[in-house]
């Protein structure tokens, strides 16, 4: 952290000086912009290379962002998951029926208008489903009680009806229909030796529930031969009550269960995006090196081609630091052009659905590329850094050519 700050300090100081130079120094910006335009071919090809890198950078960030949106919008601060200690994830957790009975009548749980405690006993399993691309991937199948739907208001039925207990019915997310075969309304899924009719389609507001097939909890347990639940999801009166509930559950020796705030649980799951991020960052890093080299090469060529011009400016009275700032800004503008272009191009990826397998839950997580203005700004800032790094050495060279040499044209 401190090392990072120490490294960033000269960089920021230099950037600050450049901004000041932009205002205070007399070489007009138009000179640099027109010079870039004069070398259209090399400027545009370099800007295109930068655009590609920035586009990839923004898309990689948008993957992480999409995944984060999926998980963050899934969890609430005033709800808690009760799991087996150290299970960490629903799939690993078991809660026996007698313990579930105790849990569901816990006095700290919120009650709905009918006086029923707002808690849902749930069973989570995974099942392979075929995708349209011909590969199979694991999908979470969640058995839940009717209250489970109330606890997830972001999930809305958009077609058909909700499943009924005892009839082996399922509802599927609309997004999954685009990625998986045989998910249309009225079709039949084969799971655990049974046939399950798809009776409804739902949307989940971008949450991770849009990666799950839902059915009745008892039907799922019966079909998958499970005699224990996986978890209980419950709502408390206020977010502040979650800790008290957790302490109460831990103190109850009969239960030996663990309470996790639902929002925190899903935050932990966002780590599913880490492999994508690492791979994306690695690719971005390699491409960034190439893009900086391209910018540097273009700017070195610009300096070499304008040596006499630099000599003339110096002879007229422009100082070395003014030449440095001028050529540095030229490099920055070159890269910023690419940055703006790349960020704009990344917009085409916005909303495209994709999925990844979570190594925590061993199941598919559907999410959308989410290009936000913030991410686009990061892309532009990234191109600014490329401009600074790629433009510095050529600008330094421009400012340091001995005057007599420069006037002869190098």
């Amino acid at each position: 952290m401190i090392l990072g700050a120490l490294l960033a300090l000269p960089f920021l100081a230099y950037l600050g000086w450049l901004v000041w130079a932009l205002v205070a120094y007399p070489i007009p910006l138009g000179y640099n912009l027109r010079s870039l335009w004069q070398r259209k071919l090399s400027s545009l090809s370099t800007a295109a290379a930068i655009a590609l890198v920035v586009g990839i950078f923004v898309v990689v960030l948008s993957l992480a962002q999409g995944l984060s949106v999926a998980f963050v919008s899934s969890g609430r601060q005033d709800q808690a998951l009760v799991l087996r200690p150290n299970a960490r994830f629903e799939l690993n957790s078991t809660v026996e029926r007698d313990r579930m009975r105790i849990l569901k009548v816990h006095p700290l749980l919120k009650r709905d208008s009918g006086g029923e405690s707002m808690a849902s006993a749930e069973c989570v399993v995974v099942k392979l489903f075929p995708q349209w691309d011909g590969t199979d991937t694991s999908v979470t199948v969640r058995g839940l009680e009717p209250m489970g739907r109330t606890l997830r208001p972001q999930v809305q039925l958009v077609q058909g009806r909700w499943f009924r207990p005892g009839l082996s019915e399922v509802v599927v997310p609309r997004k999954m229909q685009r990625r998986f075969q045989g998910m249309e309304l009225g079709r039949v899924l084969r799971m655990a030796g049974r046939e399950w009719e798809i009776v409804g389609t739902f949307e989940g507001g971008g949450s991770s529930f849009e990666s799950e097939v839902w059915s009745d909890v008892e039907d799922v347990m019966q079909a998958f031969r499970r005699d224990v639940y996986s978890v209980m999801l419950a709502r408390l009166e206020t977010p502040g009550r979650v800790e008290g509930f957790s302490q109460a559950i831990q103190a109850d020796k009969r239960l030996q269960l663990e309470v996790v705030r639902e929002a925190d649980y899903f935050k932990e799951l966002t780590k599913a995006g880490d492999p994508i991020k690492i791979l994306g960052n690695l690719i971005t890093l390699i491409l960034t090196g190439a893009a900086i080299f391209a910018a540097m090469n273009t700017m070195y060529a610009a300096v070499a081609g304008r040596t006499k011009e630099i000599g003339t400016l110096r002879a007229l009275g422009f100082r070395q630091r003014e030449i440095l700032a001028s050529f540095q800004w030229e490099g920055i503008f070159l890269c910023l052009t690419g940055g703006l272009l790349g960020s704009g191009l990344a917009l085409f990826a916005n909303g495209i659905q994709t999925g990844t397998t979570s190594f925590d839950t061993f199941s598919d997580v559907s999410f959308a590329f989410t290009i936000t203005p913030g991410l686009m700004a990061q892309g532009v800032a990234f191109s600014l850094i490329m401009g600074l790094l790629g433009g510095f050495l050529p600008a330094w060279r421009a400012s340091r050519i001995p005057l007599t040499e420069a006037m002869k044209g190098g």
Partner: protein, 240 residues
């Protein structure tokens, strides 16, 4: 005062060189270009520096214009001891006191005539309105008012050199230095540029130091200084 000093007579000197020397180093080998130059040029003079290639005339011009530094001796130009100025001070000094006219005009191709002439004024702190007035005056003086929005590629060689002359005088410097100003021009345009320089000297009182190979160009000057192998050979007063 050195008895061999070349003194062009006239008024107060604007350029004084005392035992100026300039050498270049190629690895361990010292290559002397100028040696023992003692010279006084009065304000308002028009001097042509002549000599064969390699005689050191461009080097001498660069020293006088503050483009290069001597390896020996001292220079006082426009009231400033140039040896005592650092690079930034020298850059400011050039901007204030020296106007440059180059053989190949050295206009910035992406700037139009107006913007090229305006360049040295950007360093003076003059406001936009003042800059516009002065650029228009300078371009009027070289008879290019109607070409001020043209880019160098849209101008003839003679017009480009006249823009360069306008750029050289726009800050109203005391001294104009010109390195082969007619070297890239045909006879007609060369004559026009030389006539213009003569006017700047005669009417505006600018001191001009011009390097040239061309005896016709040199004939426009009032004095010719001949260099030979890095030393001053002789001065000739031109009778016009």
């Amino acid at each position: 005062m050195n008895s061999d000093r070349f003194d062009l007579g006239g008024g107060e000197p604007i350029i004084t060189l005392r035992d100026v020397a300039k050498s270049y180093w190629r690895e361990a080998l010292e290559i002397p270009v100028l040696q023992g130059i003692d010279l006084e040029i009065p304000a308002g003079a028009y001097v042509a520096l002549m000599g064969p290639s390699g005689s050191g005339k461009t080097t001498l011009l660069n020293l006088i214009a503050g483009i290069d530094r001597p390896t020996g001796g001292s220079l006082e130009v426009c009231g400033h001891e140039l040896n005592g100025l650092d690079d930034d001070q020298l850059a400011s000094w050039r901007n204030l006191h020296v106007g440059f006219i180059f053989q190949n005009y050295n206009l910035v191709p992406v700037l139009n005539a107006f913007e090229n002439v305006e360049l040295p004024l950007l360093l003076t702190g003059a406001g936009r309105g003042e800059r516009r007035d002065r650029v228009e005056q300078a371009l009027a003086l070289v008879n290019l008012t109607d070409r001020m929005r043209n880019y160098p590629r849209q101008l003839s060689g003679g017009q480009e050199q006249r823009v360069a002359v306008a750029r050289a005088i726009v800050t109203d410097p005391d001294l104009l230095v010109a390195d082969e100003p007619t070297g890239a021009l045909d006879a007609k345009n060369a004559e026009e540029v030389l006539a213009l320089m003569e006017r700047l000297n005669a009417e505006l009182g600018k001191t001009i130091v011009m390097v040239t190979h061309d005896p016709k160009a040199a004939h426009h000057a009032r004095h010719q200084i001949h260099l030979e192998k890095g030393v001053l050979d002789r001065t000739v007063e031109v009778n016009r």
